[in-house]
Symmetry: C2
Subunit: 344 residues, 2 copies
C-alpha cells in the first residue's frame, strides 16, 4: 500500500523478511527450494514493500524481454485510413496481454531505416521475437532474419513471399476467386480493379490471381494502380468509366477508394448498382455506413492479430511453426453490387 519513493530491491525484501535474497527470488517465482512458511512471509513482505522485479535486471538475467517487435513504415495517411493496422495491433495486443507480453513499436522513415532497426533489435536483444508485415517481392528483411536464426520471426504475408520463414498466410487468391465469382454470377463480363501500390507483395499476388481467374472465366479485366488515396481512386474511376466498353463492375483495393467511387458515380449520374457495381477489398465500418452500402471482402483482422501473437509466443518457446492460414475472407454482399446492365 505504501508507495515507496526509493527503489526497493530484492535485498530490501530479504532483509525485512529475515532471509537471504535467493530465498526471496525462489519464493516470488514460485520455485521449490524454500519452505512454505518462509515463502508466505516473503510474499507478504514483498507486497507490503510494494516490490516488483526490475525489468532490466530480469531481462539481463534471463535473456528474455517479454517484448515483441513491430516496425511500421511511416505513412500516416495510409496507416490511419486503413483500419488494418490498428485492427491487427488490437488482436496482437489482446493476446500478448494475456501472456504478460508487450508490443515494442518503432516507426521507420524508409526501408533502409527499417532494416537497420531490425538489425539493431536483433543485435541488442531488444525483443524476443519480431513480426514482419507488408513484405515486398524479394524483401531484404527475409535474408536478414535468416542470418539471425536465434531471433524468432513471423511473417504475415502470402507464403510465396516468405521463403520458408514461419508465416501467417492469407489466401488472397481465394478471395479473388470469391469476388470475381460473385460478379460473374451477376452477369458481369467486363470488370476492372483499382489497386494499391504495385511494389507491395499483396498487390502482386492479387494481380496474378485476378488475371488468372478472369482469364479462366473469359471475363475482360483491367487494372489500375494507385497510391490508395480517395483522390487517386476517384481519378482511376473516371478513367475507367470513360473507356469503351467501360467495365460494369470495379473492385477497389481499399474502402476509401470505393467510397470515393460512389461519389464519382453519383456526380456523373451513373447509378450504383444498376449501371455500375462497386466492391471493396477490405471491409470496415465505412462500407456499412456508405450509401449504398459497399459489398466487400471481409476478414477478421483482429483474430489474425491474435493468431500472429500466439504463433510468436510458440516460436519463443522453441516450437516449430511453418505456414498457418489466416481466417478466410468472406463476402459481405451489400447494395453496391447488382446484376450487370444489358449492353448492345
Amino acid at each position: 500500500m505504501a508507495a515507496q519513493k526509493t527503489k526497493v530491491t530484492i535485498f530490501d525484501v530479504a532483509k525485512a523478511s529475515g532471509v537471504s535474497s535467493s530465498a526471496v527470488s525462489y519464493a516470488l517465482n514460485g520455485k521449490p527450494g524454500v519452505s512454505d512458511t518462509t515463502r508466505a512471509k516473503v510474499l507478504q513482505v514483498a507486497r507490503e514493500l510494494g516490490w516488483k522485479p526490475n525489468g532490466a535486471a530480469q531481462s539481463l538475467a534471463q535473456a528474455k524481454t517479454r517484448r515483441i517487435g513491430l516496425v511500421l513504415g511511416y505513412d500516416p495517411q495510409l496507416l490511419a485510413v486503413e483500419p488494418y493496422m490498428m485492427s491487427l495491433i488490437s488482436g496482437l495486443g489482446a493476446e500478448l496481454e494475456e501472456k504478460d507480453y508487450s508490443l515494442l513499436v518503432r516507426m521507420s522513415m524508409d526501408s533502409d531505416d527499417e532494416d537497420s532497426i531490425i538489425e539493431d533489435w536483433v543485435a541488442t536483444s531488444n525483443v524476443d521475437a519480431m513480426l514482419l508485415l507488408n513484405l515486398e517481392i524479394g524483401d531484404p528483411r527475409i535474408e536478414l532474419m535468416k542470418q539471425n536464426p536465434q531471433m524468432p520471426v513471423l511473417a504475415v504475408a502470402d507464403a510465396s513471399l516468405t521463403a520458408g520463414l514461419p508465416t501467417l498466410a492469407s489466401d488472397d487468391a481465394a478471395a479473388v476467386g470469391l469476388a470475381v465469382r460473385h460478379l460473374y454470377d451477376l452477369g458481369h463480363r467486363n470488370i476492372a480493379r483499382v489497386a494499391g501500390p504495385e511494389e507491395l507483395g499483396h498487390s502482386y499476388i492479387r494481380d496474378a490471381a485476378f488475371s488468372e481467374v478472369t482469364a479462366e472465366l473469359g471475363v475482360r479485366y483491367r487494372c489500375l494502380h494507385t497510391d490508395y488515396t480517395p483522390a487517386a481512386g476517384a481519378d482511376a474511376t473516371k478513367r475507367l468509366l470513360s473507356v469503351n466498353p467501360a467495365p460494369t463492375a470495379i473492385i477497389y483495393d481499399n474502402d476509401v477508394m470505393a467510397l470515393a467511387a460512389e461519389g464519382v458515380a453519383a456526380v456523373g449520374g451513373v447509378k450504383v448498382p444498376q449501371e455500375l457495381s462497386i466492391m471493396s477489398w477490405d471491409d470496415s465500418f465505412m462500407c456499412e455506413a456508405a450509401h449504398p452500402g459497399i459489398t466487400a471482402l471481409n476478414r477478421d483482422i483482429v483474430e489474425s492479430g491474435r493468431i500472429a501473437a500466439s504463433l510468436m509466443l510458440k516460436l519463443i518457446d522453441g516450437e516449430e511453426v511453418d505456414v498457418v492460414e489466416e481466417p478466410p475472407y468472406e463476402l459481405r454482399v451489400r447494395e453496391s453490387t447488382g446484376p450487370a446492365p444489358q449492353r448492345d
Copy 2:
C-alpha cells in the same frame, strides 16, 4: 559483416582490440578518456565483430529504457474506425524514432486492468515515461501518477481534466465555437449533436461548450449520446429528424456517423445540404471521399503526436512541462453544409 552466432560482448571487443573494457565503453559512447588511435581501433573491431550494446544491460546500468509507454483500451472497433489513434501513434513514432526511442504498447481489457499495467510499468521501470489518453472525469490514473512522481507522465486531454499534470491540451471549446459559428452564419437556429459515449472526458467538455455557445447565440440545441458506431449514428439521425421542429443541422462526433447520416438522409429523401446540413467533428479521408463531401473540424493529429513525444522527452530530461496547446482545429468546409432551409 560476419554475423556472429554467439553473443559478442564488450569484453570480446576489448580482447580483440588489445585494450580494456572501459576503453571500449568510452570509445563506443564517444566519451573522452581514450586516445584517438585506440578509439579508431576499437570502433573498427566492434564493427568487424558486429558488436552492439545489449539493451537490458544498458538499461540496468543507466536506469534508462529508451521506451515510452502507451496503454490502449481494448476496443478494436473504436480503435480501427477512428483514424485518431493510428495518426497519433504515427506522430509519436516519427518523433521518437529520431531520438532512438521506442513505443511500448499494451492493450488493457478494462480500466482496472489499465491501472495495474501502469502500476506495473512504474514499479518495474519498464518505460522512461508514460502517455495518458482518453481521460475520464476524476480518472484514477491521475492520482496514480501523482503518487509516483519519479515517472514522467504526459496527459493528452483538456487541461481541466489533468489536475496539474503535464498536459498536451486541445481546445475543444474553441472548436465548438468554430462549428456553431459556421452553422449560425449559414442561418441555422436549431442544431443537434450526435456525440460519443458520455463517460469520455472530451464528450463532457464538448457538451458543456455546446450548451454554452448555443445559449449565447440563442440557438436551439439538443444532444444524443451513442457508442460511435454508424448504426447508432444512423439511428440517432432518424430520431432527430422525426421530432418537430427537426434540427436543420447536425454535428457528429466522428466521421463514420456523419457518413451514415448522409445515407439516412439519402434514403429518406432529405437533401444534403439543402434540407439538412451535416458536420463531422474529426476529419479524415472519409469526409473527403464521401458524397457530398463532409464539412469537418480538422486538426493535425500526427503533429500532436510529435509534440507529445517531444514533451515526454523533455520530461525525461528533467525539464518542466506545464500545459501546452495542441495545434488548433480548423474548419474544412465541404458540400455537406449550406444555408439553413427557410421554415415558417
